[in-house]
């Protein structure tokens, strides 16, 4: 049975990856998950300098989902290169580094610092809804996305994945802009901007007032967007948004995702990625499918 997939020339042993920001750099989860069995680890976003992140409370639970406004707290690229990359290098999984910044120069700075590092792919975070400047500003207008993608692509040694925001009117237009600017792949969806209010105290639950919604609550939106994007571009699509089970992951694959990322599920099922990988394998055995490629984008009309 073939589970391996190709992302911009990089071969993943299987399509199961982690979603940025939910898995650190893998160290904390390595007691629950055999990192060797993951297709790739996507690290938490890293910037050129350390970031403080937002005030607390940073998370709130909502029905079937959660809001977060961590604000991309990270130790900065120096510590990341010195500590996190050597840790990940011990494992067979591919390493995808999520890159964040406030300005175009910030992104380019990080990408250049990673040029000679053991990194397989870069994921460019232009869609975090929780930071005031940079981030989302690049991810909500097609021309701004084109510009940042082109700038990062010029500086990058590794293939680049642009991570798209769902907080746009036309996700396909955004994907096409990224592809036109040279993106090697796109990943989606980042979180959906939301808000929770405590009616007892009549206050915002999150210190940041708004946060990004993730978890099963967003899955149908994410599947729809992955389907639209997969039909709009030729580059590979990485699907994510509320994946908890193998069935969830298969929905994204059938919608057109070449690989999938597991995020919020890690918080309540620390070994979720392993269960999903096993479940995909069982599904393929049961359905006599020899190659995962038979499933990618294979959704069809019900014919009723």
């Amino acid at each position: 049975m073939n589970l391996s997939v190709d992302l911009a020339g990089v071969t993943l042993d299987n399509p199961v990856m982690t979603a940025s920001g939910t898995f650190g750099s893998g160290e904390e989860y390595s007691r629950f998950v055999d990192l060797n069995r993951l297709g790739a680890v996507v690290t938490k976003g890293v910037a050129n300098v350390p970031w403080q992140g937002n005030d607390t409370p940073r998370v709130a639970e909502t029905y079937g989902g959660m809001l977060n406004a961590v604000g991309l707290q990270n130790p900065g690229i120096d510590v990341f290169i010195r500590r996190d990359l050597p840790f990940l290098q011990q494992f067979a999984c591919k390493t995808i580094v999520n890159v964040c910044g406030r300005t175009k120069e910030d992104y380019v700075d990080v990408v250049e610092r990673l040029a000679d590092q053991p990194v397989d792919l870069l994921e460019i975070n232009v869609s975090c809804p929780n930071v005031r400047e940079g981030g989302i500003a690049f991810g909500q207008k097609a021309d701004a996305l084109y510009e940042i993608t082109a700038a990062v692509k010029r500086a990058a040694r590794q293939p680049i994945i642009m991570k798209l925001s769902p907080n746009v009117t036309d996700i396909a237009e955004m994907a096409r802009a990224a592809e036109a600017a040279g993106a090697d792949a796109v990943s989606l969806i980042n979180t959906v901007t939301g808000m929770k209010i405590d009616v007892k105290s009549r206050t915002f639950v999150l210190a940041n007032r708004t946060g990004g919604l993730s978890g099963p609550a967003v899955k149908p939106i994410a599947v729809r967007m992955v389907y639209q994007v997969a039909n709009a571009v030729k580059i590979p699509v990485i699907g994510m948004g509320g994946i908890v089970t193998a069935e969830d992951a298969l929905e994204f694959i059938l919608a057109g995702a070449t690989a999938v990322s597991v995020g919020t599920a890690n918080f309540f099922r620390p070994s979720a990625t392993m269960e999903i990988l096993d479940g995909i394998t069982e599904y393929m055995e049961r359905c006599h499918i020899d190659d995962i490629h038979e499933l990618i984008g294979a959704v069809k009309e019900s014919g009723r």
């Binding site: 904390e28 970031w51 992140g53 607390t56 940073r58 998370v59 989902g65 959660m66 130790p75 620390p270």
Partner: protein, 255 residues
């Protein structure tokens, strides 16, 4: 031992006071490992409630292999836990975080509200002389269980039990003496205790609380501000679930 998410059997569940429940779990491995001040993550069965609830460890019994959690029902998740009966199971992970550092000097244990339960295991583990100061809004719970381990002083906001006021009012009223303060309770109480300990040059350990997601240090949801750059985060923030929940007062910025 590596903590894993597992199902454990509930031995006993009882209501101690309004909205305060005591749940005893058959969890020999966790009990063996657990230290005063650590916590466990409890998972809801209802799939609409995703995130684990961090609950402090109130007591452990190595001989019987049990763990006791005393918690307040504050939302739908903890209400769900309170509906579980003996014989049912609950999913949890732990023990998590670092507990109190047990010192030899004369101790003052301070618990406020739902910060009281973790002080019980600490009271049992500390062999030194100690005074235990417990602060309540109104209804008292667990206080009698502290009696075997030291002098117990109560404070309540409405004055129905012990000194009228908060734990600091009680400490001042009785002239409580000690070299080390161990405290768990609401943030305003911890701020007050820190200020008191600083003024009196006392060693002070505080157990903090924050909304958590992963509970194991990966997501950076539950950070507190620290006075120095933290070696892991590389900024002045510490992870409460991993480096905490107990910190020395001078490490953290509670302002």
């Amino acid at each position: 031992m590596k903590p894993e998410r597992k199902e454990v059997r509930i031995v006993k569940q009882e209501l101690l006071a309004a909205d305060i429940y005591s749940m005893v779990l058959d969890a020999p491995e966790i009990a063996r490992e657990a230290k005063a001040g650590q916590f466990v993550s409890l998972y809801c069965r209802d799939g609409s409630r995703l995130l684990p609830r961090p609950i402090s460890i109130c007591e452990k019994n190595d001989g019987e292999g049990t763990l006791r959690l005393v918690y307040r029902t504050v939302g739908d998740g903890t209400k769900e836990f309170s509906s579980y009966a003996a014989g049912e199971t609950v999913a949890l992970m732990g023990p998590l975080g670092n507990g109190f550092e047990k010192r030899k000097e004369r101790a003052v244990l301070v618990g406020g509200g739902i910060g009281i339960p973790p002080m019980l295991q600490l009271a049992k583990e500390l062999t030194c002389e100690k005074t235990i100061v417990l602060g309540y809004r109104d209804e008292v719970f667990l206080a009698d269980e502290f009696e075997p381990y030291g002098e117990v002083i109560l404070a309540s906001e409405d004055g129905t039990h012990g000194v009228k006021g908060n734990v600091l009012d009680a400490i001042r009223h009785y002239g409580v003496e000690g070299a080390v303060i161990y405290a768990c309770g609401p943030l305003p109480m911890l701020r007050g205790i820190k200020e008191y300990a600083t003024a009196k040059h006392l060693i002070c350990q505080l157990s903090l609380e924050e909304r958590m997601a992963c509970g194991i240090g990966a997501c950076l949801a539950c950070v507190c501000r620290s006075n120095a750059v933290d070696p892991h985060t590389n900024v002045k923030k510490k992870r409460i679930c991993k480096e905490g929940p107990v910190f020395y007062a001078e490490e953290v910025d509670l302002s």
